[in-house]
Amino acid sequence: MTAASKAAARAAVVCGAGAALPPHIIMNAELTARLDTTDEWIRSRTGITQRHVAGVDLSTTDLAARAAAQALADGQPVTVEAVVVATTTPDRCCPATAPAVATRLGLTGVPAYDLAAGCTGFLYALATAAGLIATDTARTVLVIGADRLATLPDPEDRTSVPLFGDGAGAVVLRRGSTDEAGALGPVVLGSDGTGADLIQASLPGTLHMDGADVFRHAVDRMSTASRQAATAAGWDVTDIDRLIPHQANSRITSFVARQLGVPDDHQLGNVGDVGNTGAASIPLLLARSAADGRLGPGHRTLLTAFGAGLTWGATTLTWPDLSLTRLPEGAGHDR
């Protein structure tokens, strides 16, 4: 049974979105003063002009909790029954980030876990959160993508340092039905461990990335997964009103949009302002675009990502009117 074949089946429905960025901004000019690179080189190859960096002031937990709090504040009040954090840069190897985030939000006691799937982590987290809802483990799930990718490159690596920034984004999913706005369509996911060395870091400050091969895999995997997700939702790619690709590099996202035949003005992006924020990238872009009106109620929206692993994924939803969010059946609303 596909989502499209049974109109009123149960679904996970987006009912809130939020984002958090560290206040400290590093412009390209600051990097070119200490690294052998130029503003023109960075802009022309990546589209990036600045990135937000947490430094020692903000942890991944801090960023995750701030984004989550905003997602909860912006939607209608709900009781969160589970927390999933997608991150490649947790504050500690052990324990996971999510329980601390849950406690920070006053949610001590709920199921909470981390999930690592590189820059595809948020889409993997959406899929598992939808599973928690489908199996009645939780009626409302907070799904957070949070990363401090600026910690990964060697500080002297002029080709990697400019690419990455820190941040977090979050959405709230509630139990609903497939016929309402905000319902997640089928989530297409994949991985290929033969490409594990193409993007890898054994420790902070040791990131290695093979740019050419990553480009090839990224455009191929995101284009293919996007077509699969659209088909699984019963859409044609021409139905896409808003393409939300993982923000790694504007050359990659423009290439994917052209491969799919999505017009420039239907593709949203913010890599110029925030760089590559890893698992935070998609929810950050969703929250910011919804706030500034580039993403509006009724827009047929396709999310796609690619990252270390290699991993990739895509899914669809019709963007909801978050101000009109319905409460989940039977759930309280003490927040």
């Binding site: 740019g211 050419a212 090839r216």
Partner: protein
């Protein structure tokens, strides 16, 4: 240069049309390292031919690149 290559260079890679001559080097035409990868991917997707980044760089001029693509497309 064939119209197919000119269209890819102007429409997909957004290179300036006035620089696209047979004698132009890749640098002069406005290629950067990523554009070489983009062209390689586009040639595979559009024509099913495998032309690596080093093949493209070795061609050195747009005219020789065009000949390489034409010969690969005709299976020679």
């Amino acid at each position: 240069m064939t119209g197919d290559l000119v269209r890819i260079l102007t429409d997909d890679l957004k290179l300036p049309a006035d620089r696209l001559t047979d004698e132009a080097s890749l640098d002069h035409a406005g290629f950067d390292s990523l554009a070489v990868v983009e062209l390689s991917v586009l040639l595979t997707d559009r024509y099913g031919i495998d032309i690596s980044e080093s093949d493209i760089k070795d061609a050195a001029t747009l005219g020789r690149l065009d000949l390489l693509i034409t010969s690969k497309r005709s299976g020679r």
